[in-house]
Chain length 459, copies 4
């Protein structure tokens, strides 16, 4: 509808190629409508449209917000045009009032920020639940001995709790960053920025912001309409989270091989083969691992689209949206599935104990304690112990020789009691968990408030 | 259905997370069914299933190939399972014969290769048509003078034909590579490779290959089922093509600014603003430019998924498919839209002539001819001319001084007659076009044959 | 030296392939030594090494910190081994004391975090200076009229100040995020985490942290040694900054074409051609634009390396470092060069005024004001104006007709006075600048303190 | 030197930021000089420079080709300017003759193509040697039983030979593509294309091409100077190769865990820990795995730089070079190290046999053979066997029940004799190896010829 007077009819082929209606717009249609409701309310409030017209428009938009499906049967460049066509079909030329003082450029930016905020709050919520599962499991398996690994080679003795908490701490950092981003990065309102230099229509940008629950403005109107800095930032952090989860996925794929057999996972997370009747594959973790890689791809798409664009809105930015929405939705889904799987996980203590007995996981402890006891440079002791390991045929020989030198035998149970915060030492682990649970409690309250403040289709 | 006996019921949440049915499978369902028809035919031929059962299955599959929609209403891990469920619903336990001697692993690989081949042939066809447009336009605008650019700064005098042919030659290279890839890379059959080490069922891998129009085997069954080397290769080349097209897109975006105004494009390729009534934006080229960036993202997703996967099929590979299909389909669509737009393009000769008159595009020709005439080192002449340019207030002064030194004035019309193949010299341009048209003719015949050999749902 | 007793002599070829000594280690050698000094001090303090030995080691390390060049003539797996070899050459077997209670895994993580913090502080400092230039220029060109652009097509009238401030606001957001990252993400100490589960040696992790100026611990030792979450996060934000700068670079490349001629840049930022004596190319901005793309590449390298790695240190992580260091150093360099160039920039008011006169930049203002005046739906007015634009041959006709309808003529000078914060309206621009200058002042003090606290080779 | 007359003195800071001299140029300095020698010879031949001057220049260049170090002590924008300065220092203003009829734009493109060709030939040579090792090992371990894997879970019985050959076949495909690229993609000469539209100087582009061993021209001069299609294509394929090798790397990292213990690798490819005296980490494969990820990053850098560049040379393209050179050099190095490691590999037959005995690797064979024997749909048999596996406590029970049904017991030795090419069946394996060895022989001759034709610094 926008083009006819200036450019004449469009072509279906071009529309198919350039329209965002059926690709990314569907995922944020409610946010688009919500921004438009806020805009129309403001027009009414400032007597910029006839009140009765404004009210009719608002009513239609609210209904559309509840069921936006009719929009997707239309031919339109994007959801913004589709809404206008829909309103015109309903209200005739009165619908045209809605276009006053706005542009697609400021409204799509507002919808994207609303969408981002809502999805990030969901993600936050899922991450917190994931932490709860990690902390609960860690609590339960505080003394469940397990080999630690470097280079996928057995390193020293740790506990299943210690292993799980490495992810908890990393996720707690992402949660803090997401909180920061929700309050400081995405909650800036671009509304009122017009197409590039705001508008002559005397709306209040602050009121518009407030109506959508935004705490401040993207001030500069060129930035408000033409920049996607917030998408780059959010997408980056989502990708970091997803890449972190690929490491957990990899661990569980390795740990559920029968050769390792360190953990058991509920059968619902496994799949079998159409040919091989015995297969039990941890496919959910493969999809999660792949998702990390896909995240990198979506992030690259976004960054590479934006690279080298001139200032101001360019339609290239529309193509950013589908990648961004994928990142928002699929990351949350992945966090949820990882949590569900972890809930079902049981460590196979026997297998891990067997490996602790089989591989020389105590020699480092012998070496350190020997160095402390003998008062010799560690490098010398390291070489001595390496030689013992290299020359002995059996592990029992190694431990025997080292035990002799040290004057006592070490057991896996005792070596985890390292004198350091952050070690597998159960007393430090407990301390960490107890602090973390408090943090989680506060986070849940915080998220509860954020969820309560949702403005989308809210009235 | 596969999992019940060994693993019990699955979970909807897990299925939603892991199933490919509604994401990538839809795009290659016909290829999957076609591979299954070939497989069943082979089973019948070798008396491995009862003939009447086999025939019934084939008939059902052929019908399904015509209308595969029923599959997408099912709950299944993927289209392979969905087809088996569909057949069971139709044929009861007889449907289970189809599973003999095959795995999802070899069949999904076969379907992907079929899909790749078909889409690449389409792309080839569109690229050839794009070349036709380029060559036709070049023929028409052989003597249409235009500034050449380096660093987006006016450089020397060229022609619109010369400009267009730079893309023609680059695309001709991609076409040759695609031809190579179609015949040498994707046309290898993985069928018969089973899940990882072939099967005990005495099918003929060569017959299966032939049935699907494949010219040879992926021999090693681990590679056949677990490698996606062909997807990495194809996706890379598609990305290169799309990135090349971003440069054309950028050129046209710049050339259609009123400041340049070098070309006019039919209004159907433009869009306007919902706020600013005068805007004429070349949005198709913005989408094409964004697509190049998105291609890089999809390629990264694919490569990063595959990076570090252990040998053998992993479900991570399923997630490759949607990115691959995007690349296959959207690249072709982009080539087609670029072609359509180019068809409508008219160079604005006056604007380009005006710029040629305004900017010092002839000084390099003066410098070169001066060096030849004076018998002085070019570096000296370059410095001399640079000084003249730097010190003169007006371009006419520059040309006057240089004309005096050279003993004659140069005109834009004559300087394009460089004594070199590949220059804007119209006689070389004509020679290039005439060779290229012959090449295009042969290519069209080649593609015609490829299209005629399509096996999907073909009988 | 580490390997000989267990594994025998290494191979030069393997060492060349796997050693980080001459690639990434050089850039963070001082940070490595500083961490080792802190470690040795702690050993001395807790009587874990003989005091005189510890003191000798510390003295040697301090000297090495001043001139680490000798390390790079050695054959070693990495700088950590090189330092030990160096110390052994100087102090004999006493050097071996330094190895007590530490691992390369916790020390390389500490050095990387130190390096990140230092480089980010430098970057912060450069970004602040860049803001100062932007604010100063904006102050100066508050009323310098300029076309705004969307889709690289002239949109409406704005000012050079308004244009510049769009970057200032975006950079101010990155600055806030960097501050957050410096204090909350990189300033966590991994020291004392050992190889994966801390150590039996009774050091104090908190003391070690304090010695290096870290505000808290990476608590979990598996995360401390095996995670590079902080690198992913920092690298992401650096990439966002660099991509933002590519848009500024693109603008200036376009604006310095003679067709636009909107800005002049000092000749030192231009380069010419070896062949074409007249060329003036804005090469610094091309390198800055390329750097944004390279950043994406380095970020991908980092993320793709980490994707799918099992928990614990893997040598893959060593390869992350060179990409990270590139990102840290080159982003800062780019910010500095952009600042230098901007300092030299002069807007060409005449060219911009000429374009404002030539293109229909006022029609949107006419349309908005007409809608307000006539009390008609904006969509109707938009269509009306579009028709006028479409049918008129000359811009003067357009303005005449619209002026008649509106009852007055609009001038570029007045239309910038939009009634909105964030618009080019000089009064809002001034308000923004004055707040921003206060912010910048505080930031400079903050950075001053951070710089003063640098611990590297500090004593 | 180029800039002084037009632009005045440059700035050191800008030079540091924009110069390629010490980054990428070093790696291709000899190719640059070789192209310049060819150019100068051509000038002499066509009497375009005084013969004695030309000869002196050629002599200096040849010497410089042997030792180009002096160039890197200079301040210059790039190696091209450095060479001119060097020549001027040696020959005075006579050096300036070399600049006639050329540009940096065509010469850097020529040097890059020369460099690419040379490095690809090296890579080809290393890949062939890698194939030789794979084939030799496969020959040796034709009957060495090994579990096959899907989803990293044991699947069926295969052989070590079959496993190795999956990589051989994949590499053979890459080798064919590289051969194609060497002859069809990189061996096109851009020389004579000038800065963008060739030159007025009557050189012969064909002679120049021949002098450098190029088989044809990049015809269009805009493409010749401003396109990097060949770099995108080559870089893509190098990345595919490197990503393929990450899978081999991952396999060996997993297979050398003590839990798997499937292969032994010579100690020179292992590294130990500075803290843990018993560690034996397969670090070379970790670096190779990381390299695959880094490749993706370098490829992204290249593609993202080129994305959206306007036609013609832009200095952004200079920044492509360092990523390209990394890809060329490090891929070859990685292939070489993988080959060296593989040479040292010994399969641990006992461990693999133990796993074959422990895990239900024969049930698929039972299922297939049962289906064939009983004449029942495979799906039914699959379910039956799945139930047996699911309900049995011990593997022996499973085999007993299945053996009863089948009427005979299966052994791992016999099940590998699948009736299919591409299976682990030793007779098919032998056939493959024998064909492959012939192929390798021909390839070595081919590469020998290519190596003999090297033109760089050749005379």
């Amino acid at each position: 509808m926008y083009r006819d007077k200036l450019l004449g009819k469009g072509s279906n082929k071009v529309l198919k190629y350039t329209s965002s209606l059926t690709s990314s717009d569907r995922a944020m249609v409610r946010e688009v409508i919500t921004a438009l409701i806020a805009h129309t309310k403001s027009l009414v409030k400032h007597n910029l449209v006839p009140k009765e017209v404004g009210d009719k428009i608002i009513q239609e938009l609210k209904e559309l917000c509840r069921n936006p499906e009719p929009l997707f049967t239309m031919e339109a460049e994007d959801v913004h045009e589709a809404v206008e066509i829909y309103l015109r079909n309903k209200l005739g030329s009165d619908a045209g009032w809605v276009a006053l003082g706005k542009s697609r450029n400021d409204h799509v930016a507002a919808a994207l920020r609303l969408k981002a905020r809502r999805e990030l709050i969901k993600l936050l919520s899922e991450l917190i639940e994931l932490r709860e599962v990690l902390l609960e499991k860690a609590s339960k398996y505080e003394r469940t001995l397990m080999p630690s690994f470097t280079h996928l080679q057995p390193a020293q003795v740790t506990t299943f709790a210690h292993y799980l908490l490495s992810f908890d701490e990393e996720l707690s950092q992402y949660i803090r960053i997401l909180k920061y981003i929700i309050s400081e990065v995405v909650s800036e309102s671009p509304l009122g920025a017009g197409a590039s230099i705001t508008t002559n229509v005397p709306l209040s940008r602050y009121e518009l912001a407030e109506e959508l629950g935004f705490s401040k403005l993207v001030i500069n109107s060129l930035r408000a309409t033409g920049s996607r800095d917030f998408i780059m930032i959010v997408s980056s952090i989502l990708t970091c989270i997803s890449v972190t989860l690929t490491r957990l996925a990899e661990d569980f794929i390795v740990f559920t091989t029968p050769q390792f057999n360190y953990v058991s996972v509920a059968p619902e997370f496994l799949a079998t083969s159409s040919l091989m009747p015995h297969k039990k594959n941890l496919v959910v973790m493969e999809i999660a691992r792949a998702w990390g890689a896909e995240s990198i791809g979506h992030l690259v798409a976004i960054l590479a689209i934006i690279k080298g664009l001139p200032t101001g809105y360019n339609l290239d930015l529309q193509e950013v949206n589908k990648h961004f929405i994928q990142l928002l939705e699929k990351t949350t889904e992945t966090v949820a599935i990882v949590r569900d799987m972890l809930k079902s996980v049981k460590p196979n203590e026997e297998s891990m104990r067997a490996d602790i007995a089989k591989y020389p996981l105590l020699v480092t402890d012998y070496a350190e304690l020997l160095a402390l006891k003998l008062g010799k440079p560690y490098r010398e002791v390291h070489e001595l112990v390496a030689e013992v390991v290299g020359r002995s045929e059996k592990l029992s020989e190694v431990y025997e020789k080292l035990g002799e030198l040290l004057g006592k035998s070490l057991s896996p149970e005792e070596v985890i009691n390292k004198p350091h915060e952050g070690s597998p030492n159960p007393s430090y682990v407990r301390r960490y968990i107890s602090k973390a649970l408090e943090e989680v409690k506060e986070l849940k309250e915080h998220v509860g408030k954020l969820l309560a403040d949702d403005v989308v289709c809210s009235t």
